[in-house]
Amino acid sequence: MTFIEVLYFIVPVAIAYAAPLILTAIGGVFSERSGVVNIGLEGLMVIGAFIGVIFNLTFVDTFGSSTPYVALLAAMVVASLFSLFHAVASVSFRADQVVSGVAINLLAVAICLFLVKKIYGKGQTDFVQETFLRNDIWLLEKIPFLGPMFFQDVYWTSVIAIGVAILAWVVLYYTPFGLRLRAVGEHPMAADTMGINVTRMRYIAVMISGGLAGIGGAIYAQSISQDFGHATINGQGFMALAAMIFGKWHPLGALGAAVFFGFAQALSIVGGSLPVISEIPSVFLLILPYVLTILALAGFIGKASAPKALGTPYIKGNR
């Protein structure tokens, strides 16, 4: 592979790999910006993946080739409802938010597998027939150099993910809703004295995180694994969590971090086919994405500052 070929391969792959991570990490941004720790992202992705696949299998005759997209909506709705568990526990019941997130992760896998076994009588679903496809983006694909890198063979889901990242940035930083949400995460009592309903904001934020993680899971399952089983979502939620922190709790930062992970991942796959690198024992390629991340963090990202009220339940009148 020439250098250009490597680029033409790596960039689209990185973006495609990143899409589920981007969405989930941005979900995390919403939740944590409102002050609610969400390590339940993994579980919420599981729900999304499960619903996406089930919906796709069930309604493929009704919706035809648009099934995967409709399934995203279904996954979003169900996962955001499921995230209410986390909201109720950590916002209303003042549960330790990490504990509640752990419970979400356990519960999601358990319920989904339980249902798969109940419905299909086996450990995983069938394969879905309609999946996401790559497209060339009209006209843009023709731009020299950039065209093949960014606009040929892209998934609409990647476009959605990047769109959501930009939208999330606008919402969080330029709308009243975003201002209030961030205020609730930084100084809930200040927000309370300004007449903002802290509890309601946090519920909404957690549900947004559920919805986005659900879409993320559904994209993953319908484009990559194409079925649902116990290992379908296998750490991606934690990677999304890492992307969120890496991105300093900012939607565009999360986007960048997720693409970085995708890039590192793609690099490790390309590596095997490059003459020099293929001499290196494969374990070094396998751990490359993770080592790169750590180096990046230690080298030039440095201290990340979480929202100030992150992890603390808001109790009216408490100082």
């Binding site: 961030r182 100084h187 927000a191 300004m194």
Partner: protein, 518 residues
Amino acid sequence: MEHVIEMLNIRKEFGNFVANDNITLQLKKGEIHALLGENGAGKSTLMNVLFGLYQPEGGEIRVRGQEVKITDPNVANNLGIGMVHQHFMLVEDFTVTENIILGSEPTKGGMISVKRAAKKVQELSELYNLNVDPYAKIEDISVGMQQRVEILKTLYRGAEILIFDEPTASLTPQEITELMQIMRRLIEEGKSIILITHKLKEIMDVSDRVTVIRKGVGIGTVNTAETNPNDLADLMVGRHVEFKTIKGLAHPTTDVLEVKDLVVADYRGIEKVKGLNLHVRKGEIVGIAGIDGNGQTELIEAITGLRKAKSGQVFMNGQEITGNTPRKVTESGVGHIPQDRHKHGLILDFPLGHNIALQTYYTSPNSKNGFMDYSAISKKANEIIKKYDVRTQGDHELARALSGGNQQKAIIGREIDRDPDLLIAALPTRGLDVGAIEFIHQRLIEQRDKGKAVLLISFELDEVMNVSDRIAVIYDGQIVETLDPLQTNEQELGLLMAGQTKNDTQSNQVKEEDSSHV
């Protein structure tokens, strides 16, 4: 005379504890009404009830004659009630404008129209002479300006009735004067004000009437014109309090602390201490007077080892301690009452006893061969609790559960009990009532009389003038002047602190024999 607010027989309970026991407070239109009481008397609680943060167990509230139920701050806002809280309710990460518009943002096409908001903020700021930059970030502005942002918040919402809960606790004298002017201006514009403060002088200066509460019970309301500070204090505490700190003459001897050409940068790398010289001798209290942000924090942090100095030297009893770790500095004989008791002074979720052992936990008898002796710690803690009159349920209670005043007493007990050669006391009486302040000042003087050195950092002229034997004025990272408290006055101090030079101030000061080397 029209009452804009009437709080009648308000009762508020926390569990079995009665914080407000049938308190009545009536606010006339256009008056400044002071609310006075010791720490924990229930002032904030009463105001939080009025602002809708707490629901009372009994009593009624009338606003402009109408009985109302204030179920949450929104209701209060709509009734024209605004509150400036004891602890600022500001999001540090946001700009001034963002903080002000939060909750009622002007929008255009779904987006916040920051420009429009900032313009309105600017207008309000000009109307009331608040001098606030709408685009500045809260974390970058002074405490005084933060205070004014809090005021703007209420004005922005069209508040007619303003509650100020201890607004001056962390302001500099200049800022306090400005605030008083702002309050008067607000009254001129037809607003009414409830003011909570521990500073009797302020009450006498600015208020029209005073309501006093003691231990949750309303003692009564008096016209300011018909009372005086001594009566007010006695009324509040329920016994006679002495005002002027009683102390004999100082007999300073040799240098304990010596700071030479010290340069320190803050967390952002900006130099805050710029070649500072200072010395403190055995048997004297040196007060550092200055406006917040002139390098006091960085100076103390550099002396105590919490921050690395860029250059210069620090000596304790002749030994250089520059760049030493906090542990080594402490062991060289420094005691430190930190400026922020919740951040540095205490581990709020540790029991009080552990907190009292925070500087000595690793030494015998608290620790032997790497193992703790918690009974020794407990024994010592109880001694200190008793000696320093810390009101608590015992050394096992979490530090968090204590009131600010008692937390402070525990810290002071901890630091003084080690009998350090140098005691650094940074804002030791912030937010405390007169009784507690008196107690703490006495302890500092006691240390001096035992032949120890004391370095006092304070924003309050009263305190600096009363307690210190020597006043070092800090401005822009340097000690610009050293004064004898008996030979100076508040005006002169105030001007020096604001950056004027001694020649500007005209008044004649007796120079100390060694002031050149200070």
